[in-house]
């Protein structure tokens, strides 16, 4: 098989992608927890025998690049002991090269005529895996041992026979065993489907041919990746970004990136980034790499297949012991925020060289509130990912109600929350004058307000951008900062981005979150006054905001006063210079 048939390559690539999508659909339709079935915090992948991705379901970008390290771990550990009909389960960042404990991998080796030919892999965020707090994402954990059930890679099924002991151990160690086992069953159904579908492809093309075209696919992805990197001017592009810090007094976590672009290769060097912290936001290096890949993948164009090959020209340097390459026993429960900031940092570094391809900074990923208690006689845990706001781009205003690029998740419907939990959502919408001003403004901050309907409800939240609001680009202004307000018995108090101490809410208490507004793109004084007027008519910008941020003077009957606007803008420019 000396020659690669281009048509056959495309056909086989389609076949692989269809399998990853089929697995994702089955997982979504059969999952039990809102975070998997509604928010879709899971991923599916088809891997080659070496554990390299060859296709990804249309799921969560920040998961994709992380399969590889976990698969290497599994393959090395079980060399010579991988059988047909086995299904592996694992989650631990240190014992299984995993992400954080709630992300559980379920992986099945795929055989053809007794030869290992590939892997069907899934990862899903489980609603709870035990540990200090409900939801298992405690920010105050200082050790992985406080975070919940640690699973090295284990055989959940041995030659098609379930290991009931593992099921029992999982059930005993999580707060919501029905949901966790239900979601694991959904993951098992997905890898079974992947197995069936891949077997069909093996029968159709034969092992040798699939093997040949898998290699060709990686090479093809690598060529496309190198081609796009070559189009970026050589240079070292640096950027610094932050996470607010843990608790009331926590110092900011600093991200320092030097992106070396040389020819058709790129190195992301994170030297100078903060040391790992005594709290649950440390990222294993596999997660760091995964997010760098995702960010760079997104400036490469749509044709690049989501397979391991595209990562070959990308190198990641993350010094051991930093928040981006944490060492045992650092806690990782809330490490998602660290991943979001990695992606934001890469975009920040790329902005000067790819001004048309990246947006100004957005709200920085999901805000993750968790509520737990006893309701209708059962323990409940409710966490959701609140998203999201984007910054302005060269062409468009930033949008609201869109996911962070790294994690394509959905919100949980208000009516579902109110049906299942003792929580009422009082308001959900955008807040005027929160967008970073710009020629193209950012998206508006999103407000979500939760009222607690019973006593003794545990509450925790992971958010960000209270101290460091989203930056603008090319003269655009930063978006408004995020805020966390607690109203208890009429008393309003402000919470930090990541409170460490447990909070117990009572009946009638309110938690109000406002996400940060997106950064603006370009000089706000260059924004078309008609667009400012439209924003005022739509209640996105107030009259005062139109004047102070954009220098646009409106008439009493809501029209643009053009001569006054010109004059006012001239004065504003004068003050700036």
């Amino acid at each position: 098989m000396a020659e690669c048939d281009l048509a056959l390559l495309e056909i086989i690539k389609n076949g692989f992608e269809a399998i990853a999508d089929e697995m994702a659909i089955i997982l979504m339709r059969t999952a039990h927890s809102p975070i998997v079935r509604d928010a879709m915090d899971f991923s599916t992948a088809l891997c080659d025998p070496q554990g390299q991705n060859i296709a990804q379901g249309l799921t969560t970008p920040m998961h994709l690049g992380s399969f590889y390290d976990a698969m290497q771990h599994l393959i090395t550990e079980y060399a010579g002991n991988i059988d047909e009909g086995d299904v592996f389960v694992g989650n631990d960042p240190y014992l299984a090269s995993g992400q954080h404990l709630p992300d559980i991998y379920v992986v099945k080796p795929l055989f053809h005529e007794s030869i290992l030919c590939g892997w069907a892999a899934t990862i899903a965020h489980h609603v709870d895996v035990g540990g200090l707090v409900p939801g298992s994402n405690s920010l105050s954990s200082v050790s992985i041992h406080q975070e919940g059930l640690r699973l090295p890679f284990l055989k959940l099924f041995r030659k098609n026979v379930p290991d009931t002991a593992i099921h029992a151990i999982i059930a005993a160690n999580v707060r919501t065993p029905d949901l966790v086992l239900g979601d694991i069953a959904a993951q098992c159904a997905a890898v079974q489907a992947g197995d069936r579908a891949f077997a069909d492809m093996l029968r159709r093309y034969g092992r040798e041919e699939l093997h040949f075209y898998t290699a060709a696919l990686h090479n093809y992805a690598e060529r496309l990746a190198r081609e796009s990197i070559r189009s970026i001017a050589d240079g070292i592009y640096t950027f610094e970004d932050h996470i607010d810090g843990l608790g009331e007094q926590g110092s900011p976590v600093v991200f320092r990136l030097a992106l070396h672009v040389q020819g058709d290769e790129v190195t992301a060097d994170w030297t100078g980034t903060s040391e790992q912290v005594a709290g649950g936001i440390n990222a294993p290096v596999s997660f760091c790499k995964s997010n760098v890949y995702a960010a760079l993948r997104s400036v490469m164009g749509a044709d690049v297949p989501n397979c391991h090959g595209y990562t070959r020209p990308i190198k990641v340097v993350a010094p051991e012991g930093t928040v981006l390459n944490c060492t045992y026993p650092a806690a990782c429960g809330g490490r998602g925020i660290t991943g979001y900031r990695i992606v934001d940092c890469v975009f920040g570094a790329l902005a000067p060289c790819l001004p048309e391809s990246v947006a100004a900074d957005g709200a920085g990923g999901s805000t993750l509130p968790s509520f737990s208690g006893v309701y209708r006689g059962r323990t409940f845990v409710f966490s959701e990912c609140v998203m999201g706001v984007w910054g302005g781009t060269a062409q468009h205003d930033g949008q609201e109600g869109v996911p962070h690029m790294a994690s394509n998740q959905a919100n949980v419907p208000v009516e579902i929350i109110e049906t299942d939990y003792p929580i009422r959502i009082e308001r959900y919408g955008v807040v005027p004058d929160t967008a970073g001003a710009g020629k193209q403004r950012g998206g508006l901050g999103i407000l979500r307000e939760y009222r607690i309907l019973q006593d003794n409800v545990y509450f925790g939240v992971r958010s960000d951008k209270v101290k460091y609001p989203p930056h603008g680009l090319f003269g655009g202004k930063p978006g408004a900062a995020a805020s966390n307000i607690l109203i208890s018995q009429g008393q309003e108090s402000t919470l930090p981005a990541m409170p460490l101490d447990p909070i117990i809410l009572g009946k009638g208490d309110v938690y109000r979150h406002v996400m940060a507004g997106g950064g603006g793109y370009g000089d706000p004084l260059e924004r078309d006054p008609v667009h400012v007027l439209e924003d005022v008519r739509d209640g996105r910008v107030t009259r005062d905001g139109a004047l102070s941020a954009y220098g646009v003077v409106l008439t009493a009957d809501l029209d643009v006063d053009e001569s006054e606007t010109r004059a006012y803008r001239a004065r504003m420019r004068g003050q700036h210079s």
Partner: protein, 701 residues
């Protein structure tokens, strides 16, 4: 007495297809250009053409059955009504914030669709219910009145109303509806969520209600105009329109629920496949409908259509819609599950920066169309590749009526592919044909393997302008053993309309465990009964003896977020019926997902009742009169890949075939389209004039 003829019109972007069936089973078809400034004129031209052919005046056409893209176009072209939205205080942005997820990964510049109602026309009123439907805050009626006046002043033509938890208690919405009717002009279209989609999940319910409002005035104007034009032309029969769910309804009922007709054309094609397939002895069918821009697939099992309510309108084409949500506007009404991919005759061919051969989703459409049309299109398309392969007539298409230029096709393909690779022209063309098939295979998988169905257990029924061209090789990829290409395949949605039932369905939320005791069963029976009565009265049927009533239960395991629909085995809820439903659910779960929970608790999510009446028509086509002349058998060279090479291939029309199978290769060239029979396949014509292609057995799988 039943009138002698039944006539159907399917309006697409470029052509209006007409099909007419006489009481004794003679099918006459026509294809005329669509007339977008007034679609009725195109219909009239087609109807007159057929009337002339039959020498029958328009008054002998007892019914006109209709499918149209009018509602979809209103959304795609942003030409719907100026619409207002009234929501619960604090929630006017639900419509715009959507479900957050976007259909594309790795695209930081992705733009989601504009909301159908701008923020300034989304107004809030104080009111609140909890999840049980209990009133937390009473509706502020004065506030509703003020809101109504504001909307009236803003000149809205339609208003949607959606309050939280109205699916449990519609009280506040009904109050608001009443006030809005008092305050707004009489012709303002009002769409209220309890009536349009009484189901949980506020974004989906709001969006569906808004879509209904947004297309309401457009559909209403269109249908009223159509009725008028037809009446002026002497047609005074009944006008029925196809719903996305596959049943026909009187236009007056469609005007009240316009969102039910967004996918009427594709639905009609699938209905036709189910009915005509059934007559010819096929109950398990995968439909394959390939046109100029997209290809569609749907699954028919036991002659039953597959329904879904997981749908978005105006989202463009998505590879696998269930995952790639967010690109359009959620429309959660029952619809035939049709998956679509961006591969059609006009899809553009290119080599990307990594040397990959790519097809679509960009399409040259009908104008300028493929390079071979000679209308100035220079980009190579799938049709150009098919022409280079010898599959399409190198001089003219559609029985000689559309001239083509083969040199333009060759030049375009050479420039797009051969100059950038080491492929020969024929290799490139064959590669394009096969890559197009690989893309379309995903549409088929989305309705079959993704739901636990193996395509090899099905027969493929191919239609659309390009269906027959790609069906056999596509079927081979999917291990399908038989392909049928029905008569009228090029106007098949119009044909399908002729065989559709008169039908209406209603669904309501019914959240409860699967009833175990007598009391729970009685409550469920009462709910079904009430739904059934409401349905029959809405259909204007006092005596429901003539209607077939089917009950469905949407079930899931407790904790899951997606339901499976199970038809109930009897018209009354008994312990046996419930037991059967539970068994059917588990069987379907096993089939779709490969497993069941042994001790899982099942719960009802919603209940649905469908009332239908089949057409009083012969169920089969005895004779077909189509356009174009029928040529003698000839031959031309056609390429079938490296394995078979370039072969001298017979070219003929289907009536030169009989029930004695002939060996491929063969090209069946007809006015409505071309069917390709690969060299290793057999082909024959069955008693219903279907072209039947039998593929060789494939080993192993």
């Amino acid at each position: 007495m039943e009138p002698h003829y039944r006539i159907a019109a399917d309006i697409g972007g470029t052509f209006t297809d007409i099909a007419c069936l006489s009481a004794d089973g003679v099918l006459v078809t026509a294809k005329v250009p669509s007339t977008p400034h007034d679609y009725a004129l195109g219909i009239l031209t087609g109807v007159r053409q057929i009337a002339a052919q039959l020498q029958a005046p328009a008054s002998t056409f007892g019914q006109l059955l209709h499918a149209s893209t009018i509602a979809t176009n209103a959304i795609l072209e942003a030409k719907g009504a100026r619409t207002g939205l009234v929501t619960t205080e604090g929630f006017r942005d639900v419509l715009e914030l959507r479900r957050i997820r976007v259909p594309r990964l790795y695209e930081p510049l992705y733009q989601k669709p504009e909301p159908l109602v701008p923020r300034r026309l989304r107004l809030e009123v104080p009111e609140r219910l909890d999840a049980r439907g209990d009133v937390i805050q009473a509706l502020d009626e004065e506030n509703v009145r003020t809101v109504a006046k504001t909307l009236a002043k803003a000149g809205v033509e339609a208003v949607a109303v959606c309050f939280l938890h109205s699916y449990v208690n519609p009280g506040h919405e009904k109050q608001a509806e009443h006030i809005l009717r008092e305050e707004l002009p009489e012709d303002c279209f009002i769409s209220v969520s309890y009536d349009v989609l009484p189901e949980v999940r506020e974004y989906e319910r709001t969006s569906t209600t808004v879509v209904n409002a947004y297309v309401g005035p457009v559909v209403s104007r269109y249908l009223k105009g159509l009725v008028q034009t037809l009446q002026n032309a002497g047609f005074d029969g009944r006008l029925l329109m196809m719903q996305s769910s596959g049943g026909l309804l009187d236009v007056s009922q469609v005007i009240a629920r316009p969102a039910t007709v967004v996918e009427s054309g594709p639905a009609a094609g699938v209905v036709g496949a189910a009915r005509l397939g059934h007559v010819a002895g096929y109950s398990d069918i995968i439909t394959f409908d390939m046109g100029g821009t997209t290809a569609k697939a749907s699954l028919i099992q036991d002659s039953r259509l597959t329904a879904t309510d997981d749908y978005e309108v105006g989202g463009g084409i998505s590879m696998s819609s269930a995952l790639a949500k967010g690109g359009g506007y959620a429309l959660k009404l029952p619809i035939i599950d049709v998956s679509e991919v961006g591969a059609g005759g006009g899809s553009v061919v290119r080599i990307d920066a990594g040397g990959g051969l790519k097809i679509g989703p960009e399409s040259m459409g009908a104008m300028p169309g493929p390079a071979c049309y000679g209308h100035g299109g220079t980009q190579a398309t799938v049709t150009d590749a098919n022409l280079v392969l010898g599959y399409l007539n190198p001089h003219a298409l559609a029985s000689g009526t559309v001239p083509v230029n083969a040199q333009c096709a060759r030049d375009a393909l050479r420039a797009a592919v051969c100059d950038k690779t080491d492929m020969s022209l024929l290799e490139a063309a064959y590669g394009v044909h096969c890559v197009a098939n690989a893309t379309m295979m995903r549409a088929v998988k989305a309705v079959s393997t993704y739901r636990g169905r193996n395509p090899r257990d099905f027969t493929m029924l191919a239609f659309g302008g390009n269906g027959g061209m790609h069906a056999a090789l596509l079927a081979r990829e999917l291990n399908i053993g038989r392909v049928i290409v029905p008569p009228g395949a090029g106007v098949f949605s119009a044909v399908g309309l002729l065989f559709a039932d008169y039908e209406m369905g209603r669904t309501i939320a019914y959240a409860a465990p699967l009833p175990a005791g007598e009391e729970a069963r009685r409550a469920l029976e009462a709910a079904y009964h009430a739904l059934q009565s409401a349905l029959c009265s809405e259909m204007g049927e006092d005596d429901n003896a003539g209607l077939t009533i089917t009950r469905f239960a949407q079930l899931r395991y407790q904790g899951q977020g997606y339901e499976l629909s199970v038809p109930l085995s009897s018209a009354t809820v008994t312990a046996d019926v419930i037991k059967q439903a539970a068994q059917d659910f588990m069987a379907e779960h096993k089939r779709s997902y490969g497993y069941v929970h042994d001790n899982g608790h099942m719960e009802l999510v919603s209940i649905r009742v469908v009332a239908s009446r089949p057409p009083a028509r012969p169920p089969e086509i005895n004779k077909v009169i189509a356009g174009g002349h029928l040529a003698e058998e000839s031959t031309r060279m056609a390429y079938f890949g490296a394995q078979h090479g370039l072969l001298s291939t017979p070219v003929l029309h289907r009536y030169l075939l009989n029930d004695k199978p002939r060996q491929g290769p063969m090209i069946i060239e007809e006015y409505e389209g071309t069917t390709i029979v690969p060299p290793d396949c057999m082909v024959w014509r069955d008693a219903y004039n279907n072209v039947v292609i039998d593929l060789p057995e494939q080993g192993g799988a």
